[in-house]
Assembly symmetry: C2
Homo-oligomer: 161 residues x 2
């Protein structure tokens, strides 16, 4: 089902990605490793920065192709992998079988509410939980690197409808 991705729009407080900083980080990553700047990568990266969606590779490839139809799926795939490796993108799996990608949030971590009925993804921030996580990690001798906190249920529309 490569062509039929449900459009998972984001709702919630408008987030300000520090796009400039992320672009610099990507540039540094590429420079350090001798990775080359190509037309394809520029289009893919620009598209990824433009969309405010938890996009799948398929969805991103679709958008990329609307800008340049000659760019192949594999190139989109490999470029996204590069984005993840550089820390610019985060991989998310919400359990519907589609791996999604979003811009890394440099300022604050955010987590997700996922509607079980319509698949809508809403972001939230709850900094008060962070120290609790730290405490849990310590209690288990664990060095905490990252986390996922996902709340599943019914969104406002789906409760009513």
């Amino acid at each position: 089902m490569k062509g039929s991705v449900a459009g998972a729009k984001i709702t919630g407080p408008p987030r300000v990605h520090d796009v400039q900083r992320l672009r610099r980080r990507l540039d540094a990553h590429m420079r350090q490793r001798g990775l080359r700047s190509t037309d394809q990568r520029r289009v893919i990266v620009d598209t990824f920065f433009d969309i405010d969606e938890h996009a799948t590779i398929d969805r991103l490839a679709e958008l990329v192709r609307s800008r340049d139809p000659r760019i192949g799926y594999a190139t989109v795939y490999r470029t996204v992998r590069m984005l993840v490796a550089s820390g610019v993108a985060k991989e998310r799996r919400f359990g519907d079988g589609h791996t999604r990608y979003e811009l890394a949030d440099e300022q604050a971590h955010h987590d997700h509410l996922i509607c079980l009925a319509c698949g809508r993804i809403t972001v939230f921030e709850e900094p008060s939980i962070e120290p609790v996580r730290q405490r849990i990690a310590e209690r288990h001798g664990f060095e905490l690197h990252e986390h996922k906190h996902e709340l599943y249920g019914l969104c406002e529309q789906c409760r009513k409808g």
Copy 2:
């Protein structure tokens, strides 16, 4: 790579699954839907109740086959799906590409610490977060059904090693 599943043992406080209750729930589920009790299902379900692991289908099938080699992968797969449908098993994806299953925890929710180096899965309970989750859900008009809270990092051994 169907045969090569890293053995992700559980560490942490010994959990007491209310196995009796879960078995009754499964029985009720099966009765209600006219599902039949077969030798294969009995072996698979017993095996699943016996192991205290976040097992993949492959791992479960392996253990099942050590009890009865004639039971096919598809039957294990479909039986696990039945367990999930009845609420007796929970599906977990920790991002290593292997979907895992564990007994549902009727008494208390538990969440997971996952070591990024060795894959070790440790469970934890932190009831104090529950009201925070409720508050987040309410704030977004969301009816909360379930959640995932996963902490990724390095376990004690891997920090030292």
